[in-house]
């Protein structure tokens, strides 16, 4: 298989290094431009199975606000983001809720949970 170079921007931290990734298909031959080890891990994943953290909101009943901000406990496959959002839209949770409480378990065929981002006192 022919070697090709893909330019990626690492999103692991705010620095945003531009990575020149030389690869044969999914096999990485060389990475240039990263300033730490996390850049290599990012490049490997981004080429084969890009992952993203997802943050959104869930409807709350009886809370100080009508929405609870939530986040995925780990990144999920980028291709499944909209499936996850559709599942979350079906859910309504009941206040009070503590930060870190599990709102949805094992979402979109992963072992990732959706967690509450804050306390939500009941009204």
């Amino acid at each position: 298989m022919a070697k090709e170079t893909t330019e990626l921007i690492c999103i692991t931290c705010p620095m945003g290094c531009t990575l020149d990734v030389t690869h044969e298909g999914d096999t990485i031959v060389d990475i240039e431009g990263n300033t730490c080890k996390r850049g290599e891990d990012y490049a490997k994943e981004e080429l084969t199975n890009p992952q993203r953290m997802v943050t959104t909101t869930v409807r709350v009943a009886g809370g100080l606000h009508p929405l609870m901000p939530v986040y995925t406990s780990a990144p999920i496959p980028k291709a499944r983001i909209f499936d996850l959002l559709a599942d979350i839209r079906k859910v309504e949770i009941q206040a009070p809720i503590r930060v870190g409480d599990v709102v949805l378990e094992d979402v979109v065929d992963t072992d990732v949970d959706v967690l509450a981002s804050r306390d939500m006192p009941a009204t």
Binding site: G16, M53, T56, P69, Y71, R118
Partner: protein
């Protein structure tokens, strides 16, 4: 007489700067620390920043905004920081009086040190002078963020976003998540103004086109935005003729900069640097007014919340040190109360070590006349510290008592003093 409560440190605002200042003030030895917040809960703008990316610098952890805020809210409350919520500061004076309104009325608070932590505001349409009509559907990006993330309603369906700052890009993704179509992000500069990672995960991931060196030439629509005219600009920000493009949409979001919010600072006499829009500060984040400190985006707009927190720590520590010094100074002074037959006495307070330097004269007026020999006395409880005789005492004639230097020991061990004028 009831002594009104005086706080060591009052912090105005409970965003990351204010929370950090309150926490560090407590840890640095301030006793009574109060946060005044106009919202119904602590946390500030972080509460609507539901995306992650917070805390990497400070904790090495990737947290959503509300989680980052929760960490500091919990810590502040555990440390015994007090709060007044749903309370709006109307005025701050150079003497550190803080006037507030709340649901049950007006109140005057007093502090030994004040930390200004009001954050910043979004630049608005009039401030960038976009031509065109004035229909509904033009919002600042942060305001739209509050609607979508806190209040739960969508401000439109088809969006154009002006400005490639982080708030603009993050809102582009957020609106896409909630089913809207983001037609375009326009940026007047020849480069991205937000973080590269947000370009990747907010725009590239969802095929939202970004156009650099472009701005909104004109807003089109009568009652509601119907389209915006995008236009390319040259290096002097002048429109390039022939580059106009009509982009149909129902909402325009503006993410065109943040300005430190210093309305209260100015009222307190705090001098503002015209370049930053925030107060001139020293290395403790103290403003030109002694005892008034400033923390976070109120000083200048930061890129990362972690740095706002660190600025808050510095201001909080400085404020606590200032308050403790004030307290020490006050502790060295004794109140001089009015006792039997004394209407008032000057001075109101006496430094414990005043007699090291010289005799001190007390001046007073009596309440009722005594037409016989009287004794004018300064007492510590029942112990007489200084005494002087007079042939009479009349309200119309000021009475004086000289406290001699030899009364030093008696004054130094006293906690309160009082004066009385009575028959011998």
């Amino acid at each position: 007489m009831m002594t009104k409560k005086k706080w060591d440190v009052i912090v105005i605002g409970s965003g990351p700067g204010g929370l950090a200042a309150a926490i560090e003030a407590k840890k640095s030895g301030a006793q009574d620390v109060l946060i005044v917040e106009r919202d119904v809960e602590l946390g500030g703008i972080l509460l609507q920043c539901i995306h992650n990316g917070f805390g990497l610098e400070l904790f090495g952890e990737d947290m959503p905004g509300p989680t980052y805020a929760q960490t500091f809210i919990d810590e502040a409350l555990e440390l015994g920081v007090e709060t007044r919520l749903d309370t709006m500061v109307m005025d701050v004076t150079p003497m550190r009086q803080v006037y507030v309104t709340k649901r049950d009325g007006f109140e005057e608070l007093e502090a030994r040190a004040v930390v200004l932590a009001m954050g910043c505001r979004e630049r608005t349409r009039p401030q960038i002078r976009i031509p065109g009509t004035r229909p509904a559907g033009v919002y600042m990006a942060g305001l739209a963020q509050q609607f979508v993330n806190i209040e739960g309603w969508m401000p439109g369906e088809r969006f154009v976003i002006l400005g490639s700052g982080d708030i603009g890009m993050i809102m582009a993704r957020r609106l896409t998540f909630e089913g809207a179509k983001v037609e375009r992000v326009l940026e007047v500069m020849p480069y991205l103004t937000g973080l590269m990672r947000n370009y990747v995960q907010c725009l590239l991931d969802f095929d939202i086109p970004l156009e650099l060196e472009h701005t909104v030439g004109r807003i089109i629509g009568h009652d509601r935005v119907e389209a915006v005219e995008a236009v390319q600009v040259d290096k002097d920000w002048k429109a390039v003729p022939g580059s106009e493009e009509i982009i149909p949409c129902d909402t325009l979001l503006l993410s065109v900069g943040l300005i430190p919010e210093n309305e209260l600072s100015r009222r307190a006499g705090v001098a503002i640097d015209p370049v930053t829009g925030g107060p001139y500060v020293n290395e403790d984040m103290e403003t030109n007014i002694p005892g008034i400190f400033a923390a976070g985006n109120v000083v200048h707009v930061y890129d990362l919340v972690d740095w706002v927190t660190e600025a808050g720590y510095v201001a909080g520590c400085g404020a606590a040190k200032f308050a403790i010094e004030q307290r020490k100074h006050i502790d060295r002074e004794l109140p001089v109360d009015t006792g039997e037959n004394v209407h008032h006495v000057i001075p109101h307070r006496l430094r414990k070590d005043a007699l090291v330097e010289r005799d001190v004269q007390l001046q007073m007026r009596v309440t009722r006349p005594i037409e016989e020999r009287v004794s004018v006395e300064l007492v510590d409880g029942q112990e007489v510290v200084a005494r002087q005789g007079a042939r009479y005492a009349r309200p119309g004639e000021m009475v004086t008592l000289t406290v001699p230097q030899k009364a030093y020991d008696a004054v130094n061990k006293a906690e309160r003093l009082s004066v009385r004028v009575r028959e011998r």
